[in-house]
């Protein structure tokens, strides 16, 4: 799909799925995502949330930034771009990557698809073309924006495998997590990757925008057989926090758009040390990250469970109730499935250690009256929610 020449007349572009989602929307709660109009809630938030956790939710992820990176030096280029060692990446596989500026601060994260030998797709939350082009000097590589040329649906939840099979996409049973496969849905070609942002079993289905509605109709054609809900960004926010996934630009500032000194974050500081390979050879930011490693940790984006049932919302974190201010909550949700307040908090370390006691102080309303509450927080290193069925191959049939 090329961009409609008249698109500027609309404040926001419509995705190829817009007509269907709009018809199903009872709330009309929309928001902007990368110049597109997308739903925050289509019908009921709780229904959308539970569809991901116990049925199947379908989300329009067309606005996701997509870049095609190809050419003789594509692999070398990507190796220099991202912090992760890509030597295990093969055609037909996807990997999670993060990239930094020269100072070793995170610019954005994303998923990298190796489509074939010298042909990759990089998906990211934010627009990255300038950085990708700056990084291209000295490499024989072509970089194209394909955000608008490819429509995509996230099909997520324990029954997503069965839903897609029922919708006519056969051949997913042997697809392992982070695998890519070319299939057909009826007479339209689709690319399916076993990837997602929900922490549950799930797939992302990539399709020509011209075939988008046909794909949508095939999936929703089996809605009578399965609980299938169109999902908006609000439910996604809940499940991604449960899964422990971070969101650059929300949980921390993206480096190249940070103004104030020290307001940006390194991969170590946001819990992405596991995708940094300091011994894989040169990449942008490596020197700064090696240097950072020589110092004790200064701060970490930390997963915390906040006691009690009051939503912590925006809260400061103290080292003990009434203690020293050590951090703040960046995002928080009430998790219906875990029955707990979950949050990601940016916490200053004390002498290279997580402060021994973490207490959140926050304001909340009761019948419009503001009150202050203190709640103890418990740091956690594992994702809050990671069900076993997420990575079983072949997935269970329903």
């Amino acid at each position: 799909m090329s961009i409609d020449r008249e698109h500027f007349r609309l404040a926001l572009q419509r995705t190829p799925f817009h007509d269907r989602i709009s018809a199903m929307s009872t709330t009309e709660v929309w928001t902007a995502w990368n110049t597109y109009k997308v739903a925050r809630v289509v019908d009921k938030l709780s229904a959308e949330y539970f569809a991901v956790r116990s049925g199947c939710a379908v989300m329009d992820m067309t606005p996701m930034e997509k870049y095609r990176i190809s050419g003789k030096d594509a692999r070398a280029y990507l190796d220099r771009l991202v912090t992760r060692d890509l030597s295990k990446l093969r055609p037909g596989r996807v990997t999670y990557v993060v990239w930094c500026n020269d100072e070793g601060k995170v610019i954005d994260d994303g998923t990298l698809f190796q489509l074939d030998e010298d042909n990759y797709r990089l998906c990211s939350q934010h627009h990255q073309l300038d950085w990708l082009l700056i990084s291209a000097a000295g490499f024989d590589v072509q970089i194209e924006v394909e955000t608008h040329e490819i429509a995509a649906l996230a099909v997520q939840g324990p029954t997503s495998f069965s839903v897609l099979a029922a919708a006519g996409i056969d051949g997913l049973d042997q697809l392992k997590p982070f695998g890519i496969i070319e299939l057909r849905c009826g007479d339209i070609p689709v690319t399916v990757s076993r990837t997602g942002y929900t922490g549950d079993l799930g797939y992302e289905v990539w399709v020509d925008p011209a075939d988008a509605l046909q794909l949508w109709d095939a999936i929703f054609g089996v809605q009578g057989q399965y609980d299938i809900q169109p999902m908006g960004l609000d439910a996604l926010e809940m499940v991604r926090i449960e899964a422990g996934f971070i969101m650059p630009g929300f949980d921390f500032n993206c480096a190249e758009s940070t103004v104030r000194n020290n307001y940006d974050r390194s991969p170590f500081e946001v819990g992405l040390g596991w995708v940094v390979s300091l011994d894989k050879g040169h990449f942008t930011g490596r020197k700064a990250l090696i240097d950072e490693k020589t110092r004790p940790p200064g701060r970490r984006l930390t997963k915390i469970v906040v006691d009690g049932n009051k939503p912590p919302g925006q809260a400061f974190i103290y080292n003990g109730k009434g203690g020293k201010l050590v951090g703040e909550i960046k995002c928080a949700i009430w998790s219906p499935i875990l029955k707990a307040n979950l949050a990601l908090a940016d916490i200053d370390y004390i002498n290279g250690q997580l402060p021994p006691k973490l207490w959140a102080r926050f304001d909340y309303q009761r019948e419009l009256k503001w009150r202050t509450a203190w709640a103890e927080c418990h740091a956690q290193s594992k994702p809050f929610y990671s069900p076993e069925h997420r990575s079983v191959t072949p997935p269970a049939r329903f």
Binding site: R80, N101, D102, A137, D279, R286
Partner: protein, 517 residues
């Protein structure tokens, strides 16, 4: 495996030789690799035919600093500053103005200018002197400053505030970033004088007299005068002395040896690969090549962080000075100039407007029909440069763009003849004496010396590319983002000119950061 090399220096230009001599004296095993068949870089002599020899690109220069002369024992190796020369601002009607270090003489010189000139020179020499801590040290970092940088800043503050005094400090701060055009108009009336000083302030830079920052470029030039008067010294003599000084301390200089690549592993330089495929390993690699060549070509962007590599491509520095070397079979005569005077530096820059117009053309990819010409006849100072009775004339031509609209190939000879005709207006017998000529546009200078876009100074001496931002943020203290790779050329602080200062400061830095150990 042959001997262990402590430091490889890429390029035996004068800064490379200075750096080599210092490091060799500190006990390092230094190998200097030079692509050309002689050392000296832009200062190496050039030959036309068999008989005519020209100094390098820089003909007139101030003596190298006393510290370098002393440390490297240059006088012992035959270096001596040449005889002082004046600058004669030529006037088309023969009404020339002679500009000395502190005096003026000429017809029609306003008395007020004659009176103001010594004061003006003294004032600006004092300004230049007050900046000594800045010019003679590595530029201080502004963040995480080590003691040495703090000391530089403290000395600078002391010099500027207490050395100059309050009034003069205010004046220095007022003029430091402005243009020479305004300053000269405030001070003088004589067009010849203003034109000549303005030409000196902008020579070698893509700047006109009205460009902000041209007071600073002039101060940088004046800084040289603190070491002694301007002379048409023999650059060959300087290069020979540096070569001998370096070699006597144990450095070796390999000519006809072009470096193709700086070898980098995991962010650390470990040697070079030559054009012939030979690999030389060393603990330290020091590049006297310009920063753009060093990083973009020799290291290559992939081995650098992306934004740094990008910033390297943004370094501003497009050459605007061409060199016209003319072989003459007799002595040129210049109307209104006596035989005693003709050995001085002759300048065609009659007014500031003339200089500004000459610059304007270069901005649009054109050459000027009326360029600024800086003329000297080196054979009057060194008779071995030409056969008996013959002479060589060396002319710097500004402003001549690197990228000429329509390309240089067809227009180069035309421009050379135009300049010779222009010279003929001052010297009626010149054309009849011309035996041969060589004309080097910035494009030719790039080819001959490897400096990107043929820029004398390996990068403009603008404020945003000076001091702690020269050549660029991240490589301003001679060490670079690549471990064990250093810069030592004109692209570094304090910049171009035959000063040897970047080479000396780079050597200090190499030693400070662990040298060859």
């Amino acid at each position: 495996m042959t001997e262990r090399i402590d430091a490889i220096i890429i390029g035996a230009g004068h800064n490379g030789l200075v750096c080599a001599a210092y490091l060799a004296r500190a006990g390092m095993n230094v190998v200097c690799l030079e692509a050309a068949d002689s050392a000296g870089g832009m200062a190496a002599p050039r030959t036309l035919g068999d008989d005519y020899h020209f100094p390098g690109l820089g003909v007139s220069a101030y003596p190298v600093s006393a510290a370098i002369r002393r440390d490297l024992k240059l006088d012992q190796f035959g270096y001596a500053p040449g005889k002082a020369v004046d600058t004669i601002a030529l006037d088309a009607r023969g009404n020339h103005l002679t500009i000395g270090a502190r005096s003026l003489s000429g017809n029609d010189l306003p008395e007020s200018d004659a009176k103001a000139y010594p004061d003006f020179k003294n004032e600006y020499l004092a300004f230049a002197k007050s900046l000594r801590p800045l010019f003679d040290n590595k530029p201080p970092r502004l963040k995480n400053m080590p003691f040495s940088d703090l000391s530089t800043l403290a000395k600078l503050g002391w010099n500027v505030r207490l050395g100059l005094g309050r009034e003069a400090m205010y004046e220095l701060l007022r003029v430091a970033a402005i243009n020479i055009y305004d300053v000269l108009n405030d001070t003088f009336d004589d067009d010849r004088l203003k034109g000549a000083i303005a030409a000196d302030a902008v020579m070698g830079s893509a700047m006109g007299p009205r460009t902000p920052g041209t007071v600073l470029t002039w101060l940088q030039r004046l800084y040289g005068q603190l070491s002694g008067p301007l002379s048409l010294h023999s650059s060959e003599q300087l290069i020979n002395a540096l070569t001998q000084s370096a070699e006597s301390a144990g450095a070796s200089i390999r000519l006809n040896t072009r470096v193709a690549k700086i070898l980098v592993d995991n962010g650390k330089a470990f040697g070079v690969e030559l054009e012939n495929g030979e690999m030389l390993k060393a603990r330290t690699v020091i590049s006297n090549a310009d920063p753009r060549t060093t990083f973009s070509t020799l290291v290559g962007a992939p081995a650098l962080d992306a934004m740094f590599a990008n910033r390297v491509t943004q370094i501003r520095g497009s050459g605007v000075v061409a060199k016209l070397n003319i072989a003459l079979n007799g002595m040129p005569e210049i109307s209104g100039i006596s035989a005693e005077q003709i050995g001085n530096r002759l300048l065609i820059a009659p007014t500031m407007k003339y200089v500004e117009h000459a610059f304007n053309h270069s901005k649009y990819g054109e050459y000027s029909e009326n360029p600024v010409l800086d003329i000297s006849i080196p054979s009057l100072h060194n008779s071995s440069l030409a056969p008996d009775g013959h002479h060589v004339m060396s002319v710097n031509v500004a402003f001549v763009p690197y990228a000429l609209d329509g390309g240089w190939e067809e227009q180069k000879t035309t421009l050379a003849y135009k300049i010779i005709s222009q010279l003929g207006e001052y010297s009626p017998n010149l054309k009849s004496l011309v035996v041969d000529h060589e004309f080097l546009t910035p494009e030719d200078i790039e080819k001959a010396y490897g400096a990107v876009q043929g820029h004398w100074h390996h990068g403009e001496l603008t404020i945003h590319q000076s001091f702690m931002m020269r050549p660029l943020h991240g490589a301003a203290q001679y060490d670079t983002p690549i471990d064990r790779l250093f810069l030592c050329g004109a692209g570094c602080h304090p910049g171009g000119g035959l000063t040897g200062r970047p080479g000396r400061l780079a050597a200090n830095r190499v030693l400070e950061l662990g040298g060859g150990k």
